[in-house]
């Protein structure tokens, strides 16, 4: 009923390509998040679905109807804006009923629908207030009520929670999920906050530099990222990336002595190839715990550099021994640095020598273009049980 399709959609501005050859197929009733850093084209993509921006190339379909050249009002959509965009000269009732009044609904029908919508977002008794008399959260709820009152086929949200404080944001997040369940509408949600994307969506579409990087359920994006960008963007703190190269017997890092043994031909790489090994902080273990890790690598000797106690866990920045970190203040993970998360009762102190092992079933290998080659490097050269173990790792 309200499937949304983007076919080869591009948007070029004078000399910038905001969205490049985007293909999206969003099923009816799906809650989909467009995530990516600032300027990745996620808002432009949404504006093209809304009809506020016309694509330079490609086709936009909503519910099997080609809407590429239709104005926003004829697309059966409604939208919640980042800056809320309530009409300041209208009270709450007038704001919510704006779209209904434009469509010449009966007065009773308008009243009934406004009351229902206000009920859903818990705004009863505030219908005669002006927007400037309300708090940020209340205004946001009015904006959502205005969007749901018309019973749209597709519900677009452009960072609707970005301007709310942290506590309210978490509350509204669960409210939105509840709303999605009640409304059974397709929701396209734009955010740069990967926590919102992870918690709310059925599928995440990760965008970077105007191109779709991966579209998959949140946990697939987390466990099997399609490329380095998705791997480092999804997850907080982000994945460790260790540059290195393929040897005859596996992987060897460019800095430090991180070695992972696997059969290059089984994985599909050739010895000598430049690759990047990815491992999430929670898959790095102190070598004391190596028995608890089903498939551990050889121990890597490191020194702990900085500790970040978070309360429920501690983030430990480890330096592989032969790297001098003194001069490097660049943003992002340092090539010789590995971030490990340990339990709150760990006795690691700063400047201590720590031997760590990596969980082989949670390793990711990316080629020189950043595309994923393999997730889980469980098999060892010549080991018979490798296939079985890998299947387990992929699970």
């Amino acid at each position: 009923m309200a499937r949304v399709q983007l076919e080869n959609v591009s948007k070029h501005y004078d000399d910038v390509t905001a969205v490049n050859d985007m293909n999206l197929d969003i099923r009816h009733g799906e809650f989909i998040c467009l995530v990516g850093p600032s300027g990745c084209g996620k808002s432009t993509t949404m504006e093209m679905v809304a009809g506020l921006t016309k694509p330079s190339e490609g086709t936009v379909r909503i519910g099997e109807r080609d809407v590429t050249n239709l104005p926003p009002k004829d697309r059966g959509i409604s939208m919640v804006f980042q800056n809320i965009a309530l009409f300041p000269h209208m009270d709450v009732y007038e704001n919510i009923s704006f779209g209904l009044r434009l469509r010449d609904y009966e007065k009773e029908e308008i009243d009934r629908r406004v009351d229902d919508a206000a009920e859903v977002v818990e705004l009863g008794g505030m219908l005669d207030r002006m927007p400037d008399e309300m708090s940020g959260g209340q205004r946001q709820r009015v904006a959502i009520a205005r969007a749901i009152v018309r019973d749209p086929d597709v519900f677009l949200m452009d960072e609707p929670l970005a301007n709310l404080d942290a506590k309210l944001r978490v509350h509204m997040r669960t409210q939105l999920q509840r709303l999605h369940r009640e409304l059974d509408t397709t929701i396209i949600y734009v955010t740069h906050n990967q926590a919102e994307a992870m918690t709310m969506s059925d599928r995440i579409a990760v965008l970077d530099t105007g191109e779709l990087q991966q579209i998959a359920p949140p946990l697939v994006c987390y466990n099997e990222p399609a490329n380095l960008f998705v791997a480092t963007f999804i997850g907080s703190p982000s994945m460790n990336t260790i540059p290195g190269s393929v040897t005859d017997t596996g992987f060897s890092s460019a800095y430090g002595d991180v070695h992972v043994e696997f059969d290059p031909t089984a994985v599909g790489v050739t010895p000598g190839q430049e690759v990047t090994l990815g491992v999430r902080p929670e898959d790095v273990y102190s070598s004391d715990l190596r028995d608890e890790v089903a498939h551990s690598t050889q121990a890597v000797s490191t020194r702990s550099d900085v500790l970040e106690p978070m309360g429920d866990e501690i983030f430990v920045y480890l330096v592989t021994e032969d790297v001098d970190l003194g001069g490097s203040m660049e943003e992002g993970s340092d090539p010789g640095e590995i971030l490990m998360s340990v339990g709150p009762d760990s006795d690691i102190t700063e400047g201590q020598d720590v031997d760590v092992v990596l969980d082989r079933s949670k390793l990711h290998l990316f080629d020189e273009n950043g595309d994923a080659i393999a997730h889980g490097l469980v098999e060892t050269p010549g080991a018979g049980a490798a296939g079985e173990a890998e299947a387990e790792g992929d699970d």
């Binding site: 980042q82 965009a85 000269h89 704006f98």
Partner: protein
């Protein structure tokens, strides 16, 4: 110096030695002002205010004196109250159909204002909210029109409106002959004001209106115009006053008869003719004062909006 001021013999001081003793009040004021320059600024403020009050209000005062002094009496800046005749204000309506002239003026001004606000809103939206090549040159071109002397347009327009250019098209002695030139002459200022205002309305509000179901035009009149109320009021009031006070086309585009849409200027000239061979300053002055009243009321009512419209105009989201 101080020893000089304490001399007890009362001898005459020479300026060269003892300036203090010769100081009058003005010199003492200067002395204090040098220490405290704010006194000078305050004094300059009063002088300037007084100057503007006298120059603007005196003609008005003298118009009143002129009106109420009988034609037989002699003019004086401070006339004697006992000799004044206030019946002259009624004479204005007795001698000619002055109300019709005023109505003509108000109708002309209101229709021009309506046309100007509507068209300038469209232009203001385009100039204030859309990006297109040649926007700035086009805006400058429109503004340049307002710098032209109206007299430059008169002869061609007169020829056109009297039917000498296009056969059968004769607007002379109709409201169109005045509303058309008024609209085009006063449009640029309104476009400029509205462009500034419409440009400040956040894009999100227009987008929201369009998603909710309006066209671009609908968003303009349902959201952008209401939110720019001070700017629209300013443009409207300025246009109204400008048309109401206009002399050139008002006098030349009709034959001065009330039924031919002659505005107030025609009425005042008829009052002069109504005196046949004498110059009837009294009724003319009275008519002028009556004519000022609608504008005075409008300014008082809209003053707050005009001031806020001319100075700020910012609207926060």
């Amino acid at each position: 110096m101080s020893d000089g001021s304490t001399r007890s013999d009362g001898g005459v001081q020479s300026d060269r030695h003892e300036p203090e003793l010769t100081r009058g009040p003005f010199q003492r004021w200067v002395q204090k002002s040098i220490k405290d320059p704010k006194r000078v600024y305050r004094a300059m403020f009063y002088v300037a205010t007084l100057f503007f009050l006298v120059t603007t209000l005196f003609p008005f005062y003298f118009l009143l004196v002129l009106a109420v002094t009988p034609d037989t009496g002699s003019l004086a800046v401070l006339p004697q109250l006992s000799t004044l005749e206030f019946g002259v204000f009624l004479d204005v309506f007795d001698r000619i159909n002055f109300l019709r002239y005023m109505l003509n003026s108000v109708v002309l001004a209101l229709s021009t204002t309506a046309i100007v606000l509507f068209l300038a809103s469209l232009a203001g939206y385009v100039f204030g909210r859309l990006e297109f090549p040649g926007r700035q040159p086009l805006m400058l071109l429109i503004l340049a029109i307002s710098y032209f002397p109206p007299a430059a347009f008169f002869v061609p327009l007169y020829q056109l409106f009297t039917g000498n250019v296009v056969n059968g098209l004769s607007l002379y002695n109709t409201p169109g002959a005045m509303i058309l030139p008024f609209s085009s002459l006063f449009m640029p200022l309104s476009i400029f004001i509205l462009t500034t205002f419409y440009g400040q309305i956040p894009d999100g509000l227009e987008d929201a209106a369009r998603v909710e179901g309006t066209t671009r035009l609908g968003a303009l009149f349902r959201v952008i115009v209401p939110l720019s109320a001070p700017g629209v009021a300013t443009a409207g009031v300025l246009t109204f006053i400008a048309v109401y006070n206009e002399f050139f086309f008002s006098q030349l585009m009709n034959n001065g008869q009330p039924e031919n849409w002659a505005p107030i200027v025609g009425g005042l000239l008829s009052l002069q003719r109504a005196g046949q061979f004498e110059v009837t300053y009294g009724v003319m002055a009275a008519g002028s004062i009556i004519a000022v009243i609608p504008v005075a009321i409008l300014v008082v009512v809209a003053q707050e909006k005009i001031v806020s419209g001319l100075t700020s105009g910012a609207l926060k989201e």
